[in-house]
């Protein structure tokens, strides 16, 4: 890279990446829990994609029944710790809290959930769940992200023999590799993996399906298969200069940061992040935290069309990220390393009814922004090659098509959930899919 941002001290890195939502003390947790109205048929529970009985778990915090609280949470969501820290609560449970209608701050549901779950892990994961009678059937799960873990946990508790195949050395999928470290650390995700393992689920790491074991072999070995494989490669910008040193894709960049070896991640002095989704925000805020002097987000549409959540946008602005809206990259400039990015100004024209306004270039509005690093964050494609190798499986719009009732794919033995069926949503959606698919699989196997 042409201009590297100077490395920071260890303490400075730790300070930059410290949690943005610190844990409650038990005093404050109980006070906050008592503020909860304990609504009946509550809007927060409805807003949670996994439908955690939120008033019940909060009530249990108020009475000091912390194990019962954790149990209530896990009964709905096996990615409870990650969700407590990384869920976009503002648009889910907390956004639905009745206090919003009273113009009062909503109950801090995410932090309360974390309080109960932290206590559960601190207590050394006391046994809360009983496994059902052993069943003679086995399920193979591809991917140990939130969908795969949730599916594995449910099936193991029903009594099935479950093996999760994970290509990476460290399990947990995006929970381990894809969430900004100021929200969750890898250690959090690994606790959830340990919990699922405690139900008897086997997790084989360094086991890439398609490489170390063929899909057909896996399919023959098990009575059913669940795909929780997430998405594939980052989408290319398809402009010249993309091969220059200093051009990276956001997913790889975020994974590198997630190793928590901050000083070994090279970061340019001036960084341009292309795209304005939640992944772009993570890449931008992490760049700032690694010491970049100037970080900008380039987006060809306007603030209105941006897919990043409002609170993520606010966080980025607070961090000092500069937003260039209606700006599209034309080419990346540099000899061997990135030196700048040529952009063109855009304008939006009305599109067909129901579709987003369309960006078009303003002729001769090209200009060059000097940058040292370009992070591509304009989305990810499906793992098409792998998916195409599965007989009967159907893909539409880059997503695996499943029966929404039981998560079964076009191949009756194969079920799927998480990002690979929804194109990339929240951890909580994946956790819900995995759980529901497990019941789809159970029904399918019971009928056989």
């Amino acid at each position: 890279m042409k201009n590297l941002a100077p490395k920071l001290s260890h303490d400075q890195y730790e300070k930059n990446f410290e949690e943005i939502h610190p844990p409650f003390s038990s005093n404050s947790a109980v006070a906050e829990a008592n503020r909860c109205l304990f609504c009946y048929e509550s809007p927060c529970t409805k807003a949670c994609p996994t439908h955690i009985d939120i008033p019940a778990f909060i009530k249990k915090i108020s009475t000091g029944n912390l194990l019962g609280s954790a149990k209530t949470i896990f009964e709905s969501n096996w990615a409870a710790l990650t969700c407590a820290k990384a869920c976009p609560v503002q648009v889910l449970c907390e956004g639905a809290c009745v206090f919003n209608d009273k113009e009062e701050p909503p109950i801090q549901i995410g932090r309360l959930q974390r309080f109960a779950i932290d206590n559960y892990f601190e207590k050394g994961m006391p046994k809360l769940f009983k496994r059902g009678d052993k069943k003679e059937k086995s399920i193979g799960i591809v991917g140990s992200g939130p969908a795969g873990l949730a599916c594995g946990a449910e099936l193991a508790l029903i009594g099935y023999d479950v093996t999760i195949y994970e290509a990476n050395q460290i399990p947990g999928g995006l929970n381990s590799w894809g969430i900004a470290p100021y929200k969750t650390r890898q250690a959090d995700s690994l606790k959830e993996v340990d919990l699922v393992k405690s139900f008897g689920v086997k997790v084989q790491t360094n086991m890439s399906v398609g490489k170390n074991i063929s899909f057909n072999e896996l399919k023959d070995k098990h009575d059913a298969v669940f795909l929780g494989i997430g998405l594939g490669e980052s989408t290319d910008l398809k402009i010249s200069g993309e091969n220059l040193t200093g051009v990276v894709n956001a997913i790889e960049f975020i994974e590198e940061v997630k190793k928590e070896k901050w000083s070994s991640v090279n970061i340019g002095k001036r960084v341009a992040v292309i795209g304005a989704g939640n992944t772009s925000i993570d890449a931008a805020t992490e760049s700032i935290r690694l010491g970049a002097e100037e970080v900008m987000i380039l987006y060809r549409r306007s603030e209105e069309e941006m897919s990043a959540y409002e609170f993520e946008f606010e966080l980025a602005k607070k961090d000092g990220v500069i937003f260039h809206f209606l700006t599209s990259p034309k080419k990346i400039i540099g000899k061997t390393s990135v030196e700048g990015i040529e952009c063109i100004k855009m304008t939006l024209i009305d599109a067909e009814k129901g579709r987003r306004r369309k960006p078009v270039e303003i002729p001769n509005s090209n200009y060059i922004i000097p940058v040292d690093m370009v992070i591509k964050a304009i989305g990810q494609g499906a793992k098409t090659e792998f998916l195409n190798s599965i007989t009967g499986l159907k893909i539409g719009d880059g997503k695996v098509i499943v029966n929404p009732r039981n998560y079964q794919t076009g191949n009756e033995k194969v079920f799927a959930g998480g990002d690979c069926i929804n194109g990339g949503k929240e951890v909580v959606n994946a956790a819900y899919d995995g759980k529901m698919a497990a019941h789809g699989i159970h029904k399918y196997l019971s009928a056989k």
């Binding site: 038990s26 304990f38 009946y40 019940a56 009530k59 249990k60 009475t63 194990l67």
Partner: protein
């Protein structure tokens, strides 16, 4: 495995949580719904004399933004005919054979009337009878409810009428609106009751509307005292339960009532000797579903503490009850403030300075204020630790080694033996000898 089942004076239930005789236990619909959620028993809302209710029936106090620290009511006993209630009781018991169905009764003070009600109750298949001697409003003016509970002789007489003909256990529910709760309890014992339920509600007025001058609750501009219940009355109830539980003459199983909202509250009653507990206000606030946390929380607590049955827990705290004269005068604690945890609200200083013994100094160092205990002057009253908003910031640290003990009763006996009067001089001499400085 933890066993939560209880036997309260011969009335058995799978867990100690019963609905109290009150609005939530008014009908078969409600009691059956409660059983579905897990309640171990119910005391059916009092069946008896014809009554008519009024609007409105409740008043409540909020505390610092929290709803219902306590609620009072002027609702009467069941306003549905006795026949309807008995029919529903029989149906409910048939559907829920493993739960305790106790029927609360109240009729005029005539032997025949009571005999008739007891017989009809037994015919329903109910597990027990609870005699309502507690209702402090509406019924008492008609010579029933607390009018009975307040006079041990009446209490004994009516209980005798009932126990003479009852083939099922009889609990006597006491009013707290007396000067000594033990006396009606002893009367119930003398009349061969199977157990005591306490406490009923406390005479109260909930407040005055400062704009309209209305006394709350108000019935079209008229008001009267009502029965106070809910979280605020728990300490009073705990005390009365402990008095009855500790009385050797009473020596009967207890069904504890009064401000129980969760499993922790319930445990406190059980630790003071209650066999079962009864709940009303918390259900009126949040519904029958609260029992799920009660059962689960109690189970986890028992597992954590290594108890397998409530028999091992019941009355466990009772031996600590002592009269003041037997407390050790030489036990000494002082407050210690953890400066790292202190958030500098200075509430401990002002509480001690104005409300206690002026031994927490407010010191300014480099422009920052700091609260420091003058331990030599600290009387160990605990007020500062109580007002401190930070967990674990102020602790009361024991100073004596526990080897030396002298109670007031022992000291007085000593004085007597040595021919000394109880005078300030003689007391001062004792204090001086033990380094106790009063200022």
């Amino acid at each position: 495995m933890v066993d939560l089942s209880v036997n309260c004076g011969g009335i058995k239930s799978p867990n100690p949580f019963w609905l109290a005789s009150a609005p939530p236990s008014n009908s078969a619909y409600q009691n059956c719904k409660a059983f579905e959620q897990g309640w171990g028993g119910t005391v059916w809302k009092t069946v008896g004399e014809p009554v008519m209710n009024v609007c409105n029936r409740y008043g409540s106090i909020d505390y610092n933004g929290q709803k219902i620290a306590g609620i009072n009511n002027i609702e009467l006993i069941s306003d549905r005919p006795a026949d309807v209630n008995f029919k529903e009781i029989a149906e409910t018991k048939k559907l829920w054979p493993d739960r305790a169905v106790v029927v609360s009764l109240m009729v005029e003070s005539k032997k025949e009337a009571w005999h008739d009600m007891v017989k009809r109750t037994i015919d329903t298949g109910a597990d027990g009878i609870e005699l309502n001697y507690g209702c402090p409003h509406g019924m008492s003016e008609r010579g029933m409810g607390s009018a009975v509970g307040q006079v041990p002789e009446y209490c004994k007489m009516i209980t005798e009428w009932v126990t003479a003909v009852s083939t099922i256990p009889v609990l006597v529910k006491l009013t707290p609106n007396v000067s000594n709760i033990v006396l009606p309890a002893r009367a119930a014992k003398a009349a061969e009751a199977s157990g005591i339920s306490l406490i009923n509600t406390i005479n109260s007025i909930m407040g005055i509307d400062l704009d309209t001058f209305k006394i709350l609750p108000s019935v079209a501009g008229k008001s009267s005292h009502g029965g106070f219940a809910g979280p605020a009355i728990k300490p009073i109830a705990l005390h009365m339960v402990s008095q009855v539980a500790a009385d050797k003459e009473v020596n009967l199983p207890i069904s504890g009532i009064g401000g129980i909202s969760n499993w922790r509250d319930a445990l406190e009653f059980i630790l003071l000797g209650a066999s079962s507990v009864q709940v009303c206000t918390a259900v009126m606030h949040h519904g029958f579903r609260i029992v799920q946390d009660m059962i689960e929380g109690l189970t986890f607590w028992m597992e954590e503490k290594g108890f397998s049955s409530l028999d091992e827990v019941r009355g466990k705290s009772l031996p600590q009850l002592e009269e003041f004269g037997n407390f050790n005068l030489l036990h000494k604690t002082v407050a210690r403030i953890d400066q790292d945890k202190c958030i500098h609200c200075n509430l401990c200083h002002i509480a001690c300075e104005d409300g206690a013994h002026q031994c927490i100094d407010l010191i300014t160092e480099n422009g920052n204020t700091k609260t420091v205990v003058r331990e030599s002057d600290c009387v160990g009253c605990d007020l500062c630790a109580i007002v401190c908003p930070v967990e674990g910031c102020i602790s009361m640290v024991r100073q004596d080694d526990g080897k030396e003990e002298k109670t007031w009763n022992e000291l007085m006996a000593e004085f007597k033996k040595e021919g000394k009067d109880l005078s300030w001089e003689n007391l001062g001499e004792f204090q001086k000898k033990h380094g106790i400085v009063i200022h």
